[in-house]
């Protein structure tokens, strides 16, 4: 089936960010000091382990950012040369991959691995009369047919084969890694494997492999189980909670990374200009960020989001699909969060530039008659980049948590965008039900916890490696 690729604004910026990441890696490989700093990151077990988990999340976010509009089936009796029609629903590659999860919608709540609905329903019996029963799910455990008693055995068998499969894949990956390390070091295979296992390799490969094993087990178990059961249950409208959680990852990544990306040019340019030029430029820039800082962040965000909502609602003709509208709102939220958070970085960069300005090599450049813009670009900017990098990784986890709170308050992403915040918002009253529905909340919080925890650990390691005061 054909499809029409769609490039949303956030997709474009996300890919731009990935391209910057790749360019950075190429750059780092050429520069010895940067290579050494990243080597310090890699030599820490926490750094490698959290990097593996973050990469797994990044992979989900990447696949979910490839958007397309599927071709509609040709209507019966349509002319031979009729133009191809595309669905107005924008899907992502992840939606296509997870089509079974997305489309297998139950009637309402069902517990994880359940084969029956969570609530009793009154049904007409075939022989007349009514009964209150737990109706059978349309999809959850449907391969079992009526033999729902065999569910536990079936799940156990699938878990066993899943773990075995994960181990096979893991052993293959570990073997490839050992071969690569052995060839690079010019040692024997056994020697390389022993060095790796004792943690004597210069990078913390052991931690990476152990984490990778966990990731494989989780992923392959999901592949083995999710097509047959609702692993995390279903929500009020019967949507699979695992699908919602996976879709939320992209929103969290976009908010966590794009916010810093969109504010970076302003913060860097204004920060180093204020620090280097001084005088009235410094006064003006300091005034601007003091004013923005003086407004409590949540209130500024609330005011700006309210106003942005008005703009989006009064200009419906700007957007051709609902996805584009939701995407515009997501990007606007990133911009607004960026406006409220650039002041901190700007102040740090100003302070650092004030110090750099007095250093000999900058004064020498000035004495040689190098222009101001060249000094800023060649001598100041590269020497404040570690602050930018630290800010980028340190802000990420806070932004992911902020998204959930803002969406909960109603000033976050569009209600149609799947995110941790909207998931929690929908499930806010479920614990008060009798009996309580806990799985949507737990799934959202668990995904968020793993993402934020690995981001926090990674940020700590990066800061330790790059902050000269800490080494």
């Amino acid at each position: 089936m054909g499809f029409l690729p769609v490039l949303l604004w956030t997709d474009a910026l996300f890919f731009l960010l990935l391209a910057i990441g790749v360019a950075t890696i190429v750059h780092v490989r050429r520069e010895a000091p940067l290579r050494a700093a990243w080597r310090r990151v890699g030599s820490r077990a926490g750094g490698m382990a959290s990097a593996v988990i973050l990469l797994a999340f990044l992979a989900i976010g990447f696949v979910d950012s490839l958007h397309l509009r599927p071709q509609l089936p040709v209507a019966n009796g349509a002319a031979e040369n009729a133009p191809v029609a595309y669905s107005s629903e924008v899907l992502s590659a992840l939606d296509v991959l997870l089509a079974p999860l997305r489309t297998r919608v139950e009637k309402t709540y069902s517990a994880p691995f359940a084969t029956e609905l969570y609530a009793r329903e009154t049904v007409e019996l075939p022989g007349g009369g009514q009964a209150r029963i737990y109706p059978r799910l349309a999809w959850g455990g449907s391969h079992l047919g009526e033999a729902t008693g065999e569910r536990d055995a079936d799940v156990a068998r699938r878990i066993a084969t899943g773990v075995a499969g994960a181990m096979e894949v893991w052993i293959a990956v570990a073997a490839i890694l050992v071969v690569m390390l052995a060839r690079r070091r010019g040692k024997g295979m056994g020697e390389a494997a022993r060095a790796l296992w004792r943690g004597e390799a210069d990078l913390a490969w052991r931690a990476a492999l152990v984490t990778l094993a966990c990731v494989f087990v989780v992923v392959i178990l999901a592949i083995k189980l999710a097509p047959y059961y609702h692993v995390f249950g279903t929500d009020k409208v019967g949507q699979d909670v695992l699908y919602l959680s996976l879709k939320s990852v992209r929103t969290a990544l976009i908010i966590g990374t794009l916010t810093t990306l969109v504010m970076l040019p302003f913060a860097v340019a204004l920060g180093i200009m204020a620090g280097y030029l001084g005088g009235w430029v410094d006064d003006v820039i300091q005034y601007v960020y003091t004013v923005l800082n003086a407004i409590p962040g949540v209130l500024l965000i609330a005011a700006a989001v309210l106003m942005m909502q008005v703009v989006i609602d009064t200009h419906p003709h700007w957007f051709s699909t609902a996805a584009e509208r939701a995407d515009a709102r997501l990007l606007a939220l990133c911009l607004i969060l960026g406006i409220t958070s650039w002041t901190g970085l700007c102040r740090l960069l100003r302070g650092e530039t004030l110090k750099l300005r007095e250093l000999e090599y900058v004064q020498a450049a000035r004495a040689f008659g190098v222009g101001t813009s060249a000094i800023l670009r060649r001598h100041v900017l590269p020497n404040v980049m570690h602050i930018v990098l630290i800010a980028l990784v340190m802000d990420f986890s806070g932004l992911v948590l902020a998204e959930a709170v803002l969406s909960y308050v109603g000033i976050g992403v569009d209600p149609t965008t799947i995110s941790f915040g909207t998931m929690i918002n929908m499930a806010r009253a479920e614990l008060a039900r009798e009996p309580a529905v806990w799985w949507s909340l737990m799934a959202a919080f668990a995904f968020m916890f793993v993402l934020v925890l690995s981001a926090n650990l990674f940020a700590d390691v990066v800061r330790d490696a790059f902050d000269p005061r800490r080494s």
Binding site: V291, A294, A303, L306, V310, T314, A404, I411, M448, D460
Partner: protein
């Protein structure tokens, strides 16, 4: 001292003007009052008369900056900018959509907000400093390592989880305290125990970790080595010398938030049904009551600026090396 405070107050004036201009631009220039009216009344099927009535009710029917329709001083005063923005300097915020005076409402709601925020602040500071001190006392041991891991784990949990989970566990499962609500006077304690406890727990992770780094930085100073060389015990060094000196950065870091305590906490207040300024803001956001949000933005920045001035003054009080000139 007096001259210094006066000068700081004068210096705060341009910042307030800036805040005022930013909010004015945000609320009246980005969108015209017509757009806002259409948004609130529903985009479709809205008559020009309804929009006009909406604008007259709120006083948004005037021109933005210059009213050519009237004579004399009215040309400047009969404008949105004068009526809605400049009057905020006199803490006159006009009326909310439900017809009540916003300034009066704010005064009424400061009490409950403070009743929640003040105990949270004091207990939170105490808990975090204590936890950080324990970690520093046992530094470079397993206790320290796992304590930091605990801090990082605690700060990775969404604050929503603490609130929803705590409310479910304590109020619903154990039925120890009411789920939500508020009562004036001493009776409020019953309603405040849980929100205060949850806020303290939610904040302890990141704060304790931050205070721990401050303590560790202080411990590597020369005066600590001197104190140890004199033969003082680790306990005395830590509590008499390090704690006192480390309180300088800690106190000056938290003084700035003290005035903001009046604003209350958005999340906790709305979850626990406490009629403070935080839940007022949330209600205003949900009802799209632009006047209330604008007033809260202004009040928030006034309190923040007061916090900055207090920070500068507190420097001189706790650190004799700093002299205000």
């Amino acid at each position: 001292m007096f001259a210094y405070v006066l000068r700081r107050l004068l210096y705060a004036l341009p910042i307030l003007i800036g805040v005022n201009l930013v909010t004015f631009a945000l609320f009246f220039v980005v969108n015209s009052p017509d757009d806002m009216a259409r948004m609130q009344l529903g985009v479709k099927r809205v008559t020009p008369e309804a929009i006009e009535r909406w604008k007259v009710e709120r006083g948004y029917d005037r021109p933005l900056f210059f009213n050519a329709g009237v004579q004399g001083r009215g040309q400047v005063t009969e404008t949105i900018f004068f009526q809605k923005s400049l009057r905020m300097f006199a803490f006159d915020f006009g009326r909310a959509d439900d017809g009540r005076d916003i300034a009066q409402e704010m005064r009424d709601r400061m009490g409950p907000s403070l009743a929640l925020a003040l105990p949270t602040f004091v207990l939170g500071l105490f808990a975090s400093v204590t936890f950080a001190l324990i970690l520093v006392f046992f530094r470079a041991s397993y206790l320290d390592f796992w304590g930091v891991v605990l801090c990082v784990a605690m700060m990775s949990i969404s604050s929503l989880f603490y609130i929803i989970g705590g409310q479910w566990l304590v109020s619903k499962l154990w039925a120890l305290v009411p789920i939500s609500g508020y009562a004036p006077g001493l009776d409020a304690a019953r309603f405040l125990v849980l929100p205060v406890a949850i806020s303290v727990i939610a904040g302890v992770g990141s704060n304790a970790r931050w205070y721990r780094t401050i303590f560790l930085e202080e411990i590597s100073r020369d005066y600590v080595r001197t104190a140890r060389a004199k033969g003082l015990s680790e306990r005395v060094v830590l509590f008499r010398h390090v704690l006192k000196n480390a309180m300088i950065p800690i106190l000056t870091g938290v003084v700035v938030v003290i005035p903001l305590l009046f604003m209350g906490s958005l999340l906790v207040e709305s979850f626990f049904g406490i009629p403070g300024l935080g839940s007022y803001t949330i209600d205003a956001i949900n009802a799209q009551d632009f006047a209330v949000v604008r007033a809260m933005v202004y009040i928030g920045s006034v309190l923040y600026i007061i916090g900055l001035i207090l920070t500068d003054i507190s420097y001189t009080l706790v650190d004799p090396r700093v002299r205000l000139e």
